[in-house]
Structures are given as structure tokens and as C-alpha cells.
Subunit: 192 residues, 2 copies
């Protein structure tokens, strides 16, 4: 059992069969020790890939993504949920991401300046559930003509279809913790 | 001239007399080298303060805040612009923040669980202009009964009233780069 899994068991709160609350250390309050351990696991897995950029989506993906980018010494780019005033319509790649939690579909954008056909992109996110956010990020990389070098996830809900959808699209998904079930008010990891 | 100021001169784009675009290295694409240099300056300035938590607001404050929190070995907390499904109304501190750029006032929240009267909070943000975001964060710390240990800013627009408003409220503001003017399509720093 790795450090993140231990923290999930110690400090995670199972809200219902689909929702795990880990905002005491990962996505509201963030323990830098957790992020360092996560980054170290990502690095071990992805260290032999050519990676020119780390891509995530605001807001909870930013902390692990910047720490990973610092480790790899490459730039980090985060997709935005609103269009900044300094960016004109023609200068952005745009995709739609559906949030099942919020039951809302939103535009997510990046500036065309910061992804090119030469980029080998490592996608990082905090959670993988239905895969909507990651598929949106993959779409942005594809629009730029770049290549997805891999997808690194902190917490995967393996009982939801995100991994399957990403793998079917040909991507290598590495998740640090894979949750098989939240049933019975209990976190069960894959392979336990 | 420090590293951030050099990068602003090299890669910043003056859009008009009020807007400086630095999204190639600070608030869309993020260069981890810039964040490391920023963190190192913050650390030099704040190292003798008692700090129990780093607080910022999503999204662009998260990268410098998590790197600073890692340096200080304390938790980082980011205020959210939307209320997560796992947080009930009674469990949050809430404040209003006006964005002059977007001409919109929005609710910003933190979970009550993660700020207490024992906390000595270092507030970190990417930009300081009118001070709205920082004053909102100060308000959240005050609601929790905690203490603001200091305010660290990456880029201050010194020709706007943010610093003055924060200092009048009794806070120590440390900004790594202080921009005196963007007039004539040129960045001029304070004390040049």
C-alpha cells in the first residue's frame, strides 16, 4: 500500500457509494507531503518517456502538475474554465467537458501559443471517474497536433468508466490509487 | 533586478496601461523555474515568521502556494469559487470578491474545517491590483479567528490601490515584482 492509499484510509471520508471526500489533503487543503509522494510515483513510472509539457485542468490538478513539472524541468500548462480577457477567440483551442457531479457541460480552453505539434504531453489530474476531464485534455492535445505521452492520475475510481474510455482511445493510464469500491461505507482498493 | 522581473521584461506583453500578459510563464503556462525563484524569495522574506498554513485562491495562486507550502512544510489551502458537493452551507466561511477585469462579484469559500483560531496564515497570490482577492482571503482568515502572518505577491501593480488597502488594514505585503507603470507600452518597476 502506497502513501496516498494510506492517507485515503486514514483521512478520506466516504460520502456515498460514488463520492469520496479527500479535501483535507488533496483537493481543497493540500498536504505538500502527499503531493511529493505522488510526484515521486509519477516520476518512477514516466521517467523513460519523452515529455515536453505537463497538462492539467484547473483547479485541483494544478498542485500535482506543477510539482511534477518541476521534477521533470518542463513547463506546466493548465486548461481554463473561463476565457481570460487577454485571449481572443481565434487564439484558443476549446473543448467541452461534462461534469456529472455538477450536471453541467462547460467549455475548457488553452491558448494555442502553448501547445504545438512538437509537444509530448503528460496529462495529470487529481481524480479519474468518468474520464470527461481527461478526454477533454486529450482532445486539446490532439487539436494542437501534439502527442499524449501518458496520463497520470492521483485517485482513480475504478468502478467508473474513465480508465476504460481512455485505454480504448489508446492511452496509457497510471493511477497511484485505484479504488475498486466505496460500498458499505468502506474504501476497497483494486488488487487488495 | 530579480529573476521574475527579468522574465517579465523578456516575455511579458503589455496589452494596455492596466493589463500585463504573463501567461507564458506564470498564470496559464507556468515555468517551474519561475515558481522556484519566487518561492525562494518568499522564503527569504518570511522565514522568521510563525506560519501554520499557506492560503491562496484558485486558480493561478495554487502553483506558487503549493511550492511555498512544500518549502515551509505546512498545509496549503485554496479558496474555491464554487461550492463543492461535499460541503454543506453551514460548514463554510464565505466572502465576496469583486473582479474588475470580469466586472463580476463572486462568492469565494473555504471549509471551516481547515482554518482555526490557532492558524498563522501566509496569503499568497499571483497578482495584486485592487486587492479584492487578498482582502477576501483576509476576511476568511478573520472569520476563522486566525491571524494573517503576511501577504506574498508575485506581481504587484503598484499603480493600483491593492497594496495601500492591505497596508491600511495592518498587513505586511511583500511583492517580488512591483510595477510602477505600464504606460508607453513599457514595463517600469518601482525603484528603477
Amino acid at each position: 500500500m502506497n502513501y496516498l492509499e494510506k492517507r485515503i484510509l486514514e483521512d478520506g471520508i466516504v460520502i456515498d457509494e460514488k463520492i469520496l471526500k479527500i479535501d483535507s489533503f488533496l483537493n481543497h487543503q493540500i498536504d505538500p507531503k502527499v503531493i511529493k509522494e505522488i510526484t515521486s510515483e509519477f516520476f518512477d513510472y514516466f521517467k523513460y518517456r519523452v515529455i515536453t509539457k505537463v497538462l492539467t485542468i484547473e483547479a485541483s490538478g494544478i498542485a500535482p502538475a506543477i510539482m511534477m513539472a518541476a521534477h521533470l524541468q518542463v513547463p506546466m500548462l493548465f486548461a481554463k474554465k473561463s476565457v481570460p480577457s487577454t485571449l481572443s477567440t481565434d487564439d484558443k483551442y476549446s473543448t467541452l467537458v461534462h461534469s456529472f457531479t455538477k450536471n453541467k457541460t462547460s467549455e475548457v480552453i488553452i491558448s494555442k501559443e502553448y501547445l504545438s505539434p512538437d509537444d509530448k504531453v503528460l496529462i495529470i489530474d487529481d481524480f479519474l471517474a468518468n474520464g470527461e476531464a481527461c478526454l477533454g485534455l486529450v482532445d486539446l492535445v490532439n487539436q494542437a497536433g501534439g502527442e499524449v505521452a501518458g496520463i497520470g492520475i492521483c485517485v482513480e475510481k475504478s468502478f467508473q468508466p474513465g480508465r476504460k474510455r481512455l485505454e480504448e482511445a489508446g492511452h496509457d493510464v497510471f493511477s497511484i490509487s485505484r479504488i475498486a469500491s466505496l460500498e458499505g461505507n468502506k474504501v476497497t482498493f483494486v488488487d487488495e
